[in-house]
Symmetry: C2
Subunit: 337 residues, 2 copies
């Protein structure tokens, strides 16, 4: 497979008849006599020199690696984030490391602790449940961290957040504006930040629309997945016949679609449906899904930019950036079929 062992800087230096220091300078673009520069370049080229990442990191204390930790690789929202982050990271000359935490609080904390191995220059983390332990861990992390989500107020860390409470309220008001009066809500676990924020938005909009709160219209799925959504809607339909359902994310809405079909209800005629996240999936269902875009791609991009900047300037004050939700109207509620 590999012949001999790879050439090192010493190999290059010897061949070019200069010291390793000079060779290093040339390869790092530090000003040198044009003649030595030429010789070193040629020597490096000749032996096919490539610097050793570990040695470089050990000495310079920069890994040129950035990590992204998310709850679930297979959720398209996070995939979209991965894409955005990858672009920024790459442009900054670094590599991207991915970590899927399965939304497990313990795993997230372990990962934060692991940063002390210093295999990475910084971390972007999206956490569904940001506990006090997270706050401490993030504030004392070995490398800069950017949070996508909602840390408690006062936690000193760069943060990018969506306004999903307002997004949820927008969704419900949209259903109301389309003449719906019995609006159900299918949520994910309410202990999570998204779960609680979206619930608040739902209740807020009910008040604004002068609709009465009715807890029988609220169903909580076991998690934010398609299967969770299908089961939750099946349970809901056993006791009520709502004319609209707002789902706390698109995956739940896809499950809802399938449960509604199984129950013989048409969308949007019998039941109007609105999801949240505006994932690729929402445009390809039938009917296409009205949903709230929380700007996942943009949030991820901003987070990555924040992190790159933070790595350059470790001591600047932490920043908080909010991204506004935007209703995307399709056929499942509001758009002509």
């Amino acid at each position: 497979m590999q012949e001999a062992s790879s050439p090192t800087l010493a190999t290059v230096a010897k061949l070019a008849n200069v010291s390793v220091a000079s060779a290093s300078r040339v390869l790092n673009g530090i000003k040198t006599n044009p003649e030595t520069l030429q010789r070193v370049r040629e020597a490096a080229e000749a032996v096919g020199y490539v610097p050793n990442a570990a040695a470089r990191t050990l000495r310079s204390r920069r890994t040129r690696q950035i990590a992204f930790a998310m709850p679930d690789v297979s959720n398209p929202v996070y995939t979209e984030m991965v894409g955005s982050i990858a672009r920024v990271v790459r442009a900054s000359g670094s590599r991207l490391i991915l970590h899927s935490t399965d939304g497990d609080v313990g795993d997230e904390l372990a990962f934060l602790a692991d940063l002390r191995q210093r295999y990475v220059d910084g971390l972007i983390i999206v956490s569904l449940e940001f506990t006090d332990a997270h706050a401490t861990a993030v504030e004392n992390a070995a490398v800069p961290v950017v949070v996508i989500g909602r840390p408690e107020k006062g936690v000193k860390v760069d943060t990018v957040r969506a306004n999903s409470r307002r997004g949820a309220a927008d969704a419900v008001r949209h259903l109301h504006a389309n003449g719906r009066r019995e609006i159900a809500f299918v949520n994910g676990p309410e202990r999570t930040a998204p779960g609680s924020a979206r619930k608040l938005g739902y209740l807020e909009a009910l008040r604004a629309c002068k609709l009465e709160r009715d807890d029988e219209l609220v169903e909580v799925a076991s998690d934010f997945t398609i299967d969770g959504g299908r089961d939750a809607v099946a349970r809901l339909l056993e006791r009520r016949a709502p004319d609209a359902i707002f789902c706390a994310n698109d995956l739940l809405a896809l499950g809802a679609l399938s449960a509604l079909r199984a129950a013989g209800r048409t969308v949007p005629e019998d039941v109007a449906l609105v999801g949240m996240d505006n994932t690729t999936l929402s445009a390809v269902t039938w009917p296409p899904l009205t949903t709230v875009d929380l700007g996942s791609g943009e949030r991820a991009r901003l987070a990555a930019e924040l992190l790159v900047a933070r790595i350059e300037h470790p001591n600047r004050r932490p920043r908080l950036i909010g991204v506004d939700p935007k209703l995307v109207v399709r056929e499942s509620c509001g758009a002509a079929a």
Copy 2:
């Protein structure tokens, strides 16, 4: 942010009153006197010692990182692969690095060359166009490589491959068995390995079913995406009215679904539809999509296991593993609605 600088092995050794060598041994689980073991453990715990990844790698020549390079992060097939690989990699005590090549041949080659920086112990790569340059690069790579795809015969590298030619033939035969006689084929770029294999399978099945080959029934999309599929089917419908379409992957099929709807054709009544890959998407469309499962998750898992084994035993003979396709029948062709 970070207080002082992190404790090193020397810190621990001093506190435990032993040499760094002994400290290192303890922390690496090498047999030592129980008393020193205890002292070192306590000292490490007390100062919160975590080994430095770069130093460790520099000395031991193991990075405990594995890379996965794929054409497109946002394609659910690859996301599923990421999930499978992540599990194996993690179980082996390593981290996973992701790289999206955008299917660019040059980028793939550059990435292979980059391995010489040795920031990773091995690579799993899925390449749509495996050129001669790839063969050379892979055979001379600085670290072990596993290919998911179809390198030319004789390339000495661990390989996991699907049989998409047979899968395509199965799909077409299924359409024929369901009474369809004018079976169109929407392919992705034919210079790619999947493109050419699936085309062969399509033609093979036509012959087996005694259907006449008709090039007007074949349309090539610009790439393997939803938009590509939509446009291709729109063009196809301008000249022909097939009673069935086989799409070279699920994304193309989703686009097809949408173009068919726009043209007022019903699925499966007017046009039966079969996709390929069995992505999560295929189960949530309406109608749900009949598709061919090429075992992406399993292939990825096998590739990861192969790589982990290869890293342990660099000199064993390369292996070639094939995974069989499996038709998944849903409502878009063959299943009752």
